[in-house]
């Protein structure tokens, strides 16, 4: 014999959906700016259909049974897309838990016997709670994906190597230098040195908020690697506070050419390459 609840639910699919939509639409956290009602209704309908159609006697107590794979798939899809669209976790939670509310209200209307109602409500509760937790897990995973992608993007764009003169490269570093970033910076710089045949690289650290012993070590590594390649490395953009920290930490930068500004580093680079910048001769008539 079929479970009472399942029969009721399968019969009243339309009513569940209506009630659920009603709960969602009257909730004050509804985000009409992110998704219109038709779309929301479609999502909800998919989910209700998948849930009710797959509900059987054997699996109502085991929410992790393979029968519910399609339900979890739909939930995962919804939850990931919501994470990317910028829904809060509360809004996503309400989306799932308002379904529970709809189901419980329906059961209350249909089942007269309090003992049965209690039993069935517990079962439905457990089932939807499980789906709720699964939704949260995927929601967080979706969020993490977004964060990871942004981190990647930042690393990608934050290490441009620019050629500022024939034979001179500059590398403005913005943000904190950690091991992973140093690796990227170093690889980009060395690759560019090979490509352009440059003999001087200027590492500008005016965008680095703080230098600790680890960052300093990364910088020294980069300088040594550049030297091994046969190019000279100049560190520029050292702010007074950074100079103070470096000395207080006892970091030895004596083997590295350091300059206060990019301009003076460029001047030094010109000096090494024996280049000279001269003002263009003015019109002699005006001078006299």
């Amino acid at each position: 014999m079929k479970n009472e609840t399942i029969k009721i639910l399968q019969k009243q699919k339309k009513k569940i959906l209506d009630m659920w939509m009603n709960f969602q639409l009257t909730d004050e956290t509804l985000r009409e700016d992110l998704m219109n009602n038709d779309e929301l209704r479609m999502q909800s309908e998919d989910l209700v259909t998948a849930l009710v159609d797959n509900l059987k006697d054997e699996n109502i107590d085991t929410p992790d049974s393979p029968d519910f794979d399609s339900v979890t798939d739909i939930l995962n899809g919804i939850s990931i897309s919501r994470a990317k669209q910028g829904y809060t976790s509360r809004e996503t939670g309400i989306f799932v838990f308002s379904l529970k509310q709809a189901l419980l209200v329906l059961l209350q209307q249909e089942i007269r016997d309090p003992q049965v109602l209690y039993d069935q409500s517990l079962k439905v509760n457990k089932l939807i709670d499980f789906f709720g937790v699964a939704t949260f897990e995927t929601f967080i995973k979706g969020r993490e994906e977004v964060i990871l992608r942004q981190t990647d993007e930042i690393t990608e764009i934050s290490t441009p190597v620019i050629q500022i003169w024939d034979g001179i490269l500059a590398l403005p570093i913005i943000g904190t230098l950690d091991s992973a970033r140093t690796q990227v910076v170093m690889e980009n710089l060395l690759q560019k040195i090979v490509e352009t045949g440059s003999s001087i690289a200027i590492l500008d650290i005016s965008g680095v908020p703080a230098v600790d012993s680890l960052v300093a070590q990364h910088l020294i590594k980069t300088v040594s690697a550049t030297r091994l390649m046969g190019a000279e490395c100049i560190i520029s953009g050292i702010r007074p506070e950074i100079a103070q920290t470096v000395v207080h930490l006892g970091i030895d930068l004596s083997g590295v050419i350091t300059k206060a500004s990019l301009a003076s580093a460029l001047k030094t680079a010109f000096g090494i390459l024996q280049l000279q910048v001269t003002r263009k001769q003015k019109n002699p008539l005006i001078v006299e």
Binding site: Q183, M186, E187, L190, Q191, I193, V194, G197, S198, S199, I200, K221, S224, A225, T226, R227, L228, M229, G230, A231, E232, I272, L273, Q274
Partner: protein, 133 residues
């Protein structure tokens, strides 16, 4: 056994390593090179490692040794054409190869060596010694 050729060009010795170095080859190269410097009285050694894609701490040490030995025999060593990955590996291994001069390519390495030799002979820094160490 394979052998890495050592070419004599005037006062310089030219070594181009076209294969991936293995330990015995590197040791043989070290011995050959020292013999060759002694025999020819070369004043500079140019080692082209642009084709070497893998290097380990042993190889790093051999290169360092070659430089030190050449220095004792009054010849300067320049390593040219190191690949970025190799440079990073050496740094990560803690082998910054102090005492070895590097240059980006053979051309720059040649002018660097020429500069060093001129300096040694005349005590005078030539005009185009614009390269780095």
């Amino acid at each position: 056994m394979e052998k890495i050729p050592i070419l004599k060009m005037g006062k310089l010795l030219l070594v181009t390593i076209q294969v991936d170095l293995y330990d015995r080859l590197a040791e043989a190269l070290e011995a050959d090179l020292v013999q060759m410097i002694n025999k020819t009285g070369a004043q500079g050694v140019l080692i082209d490692i642009s084709a070497v894609s893998i290097i380990d701490s042993f190889m790093g040490r051999i290169i360092g040794n070659i430089a030190t030995m050449s220095k004792i025999l009054d010849a300067e060593t320049v390593v040219v054409g190191m690949q970025p990955a190799v440079a990073i590996t050496l740094i990560e291994l803690g082998l910054p190869l102090t005492g070895v001069y590097s240059a980006l390519n053979v051309e720059k390495g040649m002018s660097l060596l020429q500069g060093k030799i001129n300096l040694k002979e005349t005590g005078f820094i030539p005009e185009d010694d614009g390269d780095t160490e």
